[in-house]
């Protein structure tokens, strides 16, 4: 058994197409890939919201904000 469908290279390359593993499962792989991508955005939205909420709480200290503004 070979995950790419070829157990040896005793083939005529003119007859060979795809050589990646798990041919036939492309749609499933893409679904997994899309889930990874969408999941990444979800994590990022949640974390950035937390980060900005914390930053907003710190921002009540006007002296600190002024220091940041002056630092450029």
């Amino acid at each position: 058994m070979s995950t790419i469908g070829y157990e040896s290279w005793a083939v005529d390359l003119a007859d060979v197409g795809a050589i990646y593993p798990f041919q036939g499962a492309e749609v499933l792989m893409v679904i997994l890939g899309v889930a990874f991508w969408i999941g990444w955005h979800r994590i990022q939205f949640v974390r950035e919201a937390e980060h900005l909420e914390n930053a907003k709480k710190r921002a009540v200290d006007h002296e600190r904000i002024q220091e940041s503004v002056e630092r450029y």
Partner: protein, 457 residues
């Protein structure tokens, strides 16, 4: 070069490798920038020179004996003697090791391998900054660049290597043969070398030592990415006929191949380079909560994890494998740092070593049963062969030699710089001429100003 087609193929191949070599120079530029950016101001010239001198030292030794090792060692010492016949054309005094109208490939092929050697040495160089003696590092550079990595290449990155033949070892873009070995070697050295002063608090908590120039670091990593692209191309044979391979492939269709002369395509590896880079960047951003340097390094770690099988993976597989690798590597880095109090200044052991090992192991499962070679009688790719391969690369040829040589250097008192110098900074201790010259010219200018130019009324 008989016939126009042969002539074109030869000249195309010659030019192809030449271009990859120029691209790969950017890897070293990137490593230099990264190391200098990561070091503190008082050490940056020393850090730079330490890595710059890797270039000539590894080059000349790779000419003198490294290249010969690659051709002579594929079965040596466990499954046969030295292949003196193949080695003969690659000895430094062979006619093919110079301008030769009958051989247009040896020089560019030698150079492509040499640039890999610089990379192996440079990976070690980054982890030991700010406390190793340059003389000690340069011995390690020659050993990893012109001896140990090229032995592993002969065994596992050669169409006739014993690891390929008997273990089914597969490592198309060098997860193990460059990255795992160099990461393992670096680990062996830093275990003996010890951390930089101040790296760990008295209770053992690690402290961050911030880079003196984060922008230099950023450009450095991006240059490494660019050079890595050239490295991928350099790992392929760009065009060869079934007759030229002389294996089991039938018919007359020409192909690009990996280093084992098994079919792949430049197009396929371009998909996979970019998808694994992306998977690595995305995973590292999440894991490190947006830390810039871990994110950049994660891109690199992602490519390295997927590299063993990037000649064959589907692009989505490359992306996901890269992401998995980065998660493991990130966790492992901080666990090892806390547990063993190791100071890997640029994360080289993790980004190169652990990624390489994880990548080899994953590829054994994903490519299970795939022919490792176009020749008859070779083992197919399998998890056991890949795991054994990872152990050989990281531990046997990487960690052990690094640890032993560093121990010898430490016992001779030539490994680490004195504490006083480490605190004062290597640039002031060793590059005092610059400071003196600067002071002298400032004094001269001030004297000229005082004696020749009248102050404004």
């Amino acid at each position: 070069m008989d016939g126009n087609l042969n002539a074109l193929t030869t000249v195309f191949t010659e030019f192809y490798y030449w271009v990859t070599v120029v691209f790969m120079f950017l890897i070293h530029v990137g490593f230099c920038m990264y190391e200098v950016g990561a070091s503190r101001r008082r050490n940056h010239m020393h850090t730079l020179m330490k890595n710059v001198m890797v270039i000539p030292l590894v080059t000349v030794t790779f000419f003198f004996f490294g290249w010969w090792i690659y051709w002579a060692f594929p079965m040596f010492p466990f499954f046969g003697g030295l292949d003196l016949e193949a080695g003969a054309a690659n000895l430094p005094w062979a006619e093919t090791m110079g301008p030769n109208a009958a051989d247009r490939i040896t020089g560019v092929f030698w150079a492509a391998f040499l640039l890999f050697s610089w990379t192996a040495a440079s990976i070690v160089s980054g982890s030991v900054i700010e406390r190793i003696r340059s003389s000690a590092l340069w011995v390690h550079a020659v050993l990893i660049g012109s001896v140990w990595w090229i032995i592993d290449a002969a065994w596992g990155w050669h169409y006739g290597g014993w690891m390929v033949k008997y273990l089914g070892y597969h490592d198309a873009y060098a997860s193990g043969v460059i990255h795992a070995i160099a990461g393992g070697y670096a680990l062996g050295v830093i275990m003996v070398l010890g951390p930089r002063i101040g790296k760990f608090a008295s209770d053992g908590t690690p402290r961050d030592i911030p880079p003196h120039n984060p922008w230099m670091l950023t450009i450095g990593v991006f240059l490494i990415y660019t050079g890595f692209w050239g490295f991928y191309a350099a790992c392929n044979v760009p065009i060869i006929s079934p007759e030229g391979i002389d294996g089991q492939i039938t018919g007359t269709t020409w192909t690009a191949t990996n280093i084992y002369l098994a079919p792949t395509s430049l197009s396929g590896i371009t998909f996979n380079f970019l998808m694994s880079l992306s998977g690595g960047l995305m995973a590292a951003y999440v894991m490190s909560r947006g830390d810039a340097f871990w994110t950049f390094s994660g891109g690199l770690a992602g490519v390295i994890t997927a590299s063993a099988g990037n000649d064959l993976y589907h692009p989505v597989q490359a992306m996901l494998i890269a992401a998995v690798g980065v998660v493991v590597v990130y966790k492992l880095h901080f666990w090892v740092e806390r547990k063993f109090k190791l100071d890997d200044a640029v994360g080289a052991v993790a980004v190169h070593g652990y990624s390489g090992v994880v990548g080899l192991i994953i590829s054994g499962f994903v490519l299970w049963g795939v022919p490792s070679s176009p020749y008859e009688g070779y083992a197919a790719i399998n998890p056991v062969g890949q795991i054994l391969g990872a152990v050989i690369m990281f531990f046997v040829l990487g960690f052990l030699p690094g640890y032993i040589v560093a121990k010898l250097q430490a016992s001779a008192g030539v490994l680490r710089i004195p504490e006083e110098v480490e605190l004062e900074g290597l640039d002031y201790a060793e590059h005092h001429a610059y400071e003196e010259a600067k002071q002298e010219i400032i004094e001269a200018d001030k004297a000229h100003l005082a004696s020749k130019i009248a102050p404004a009324e």
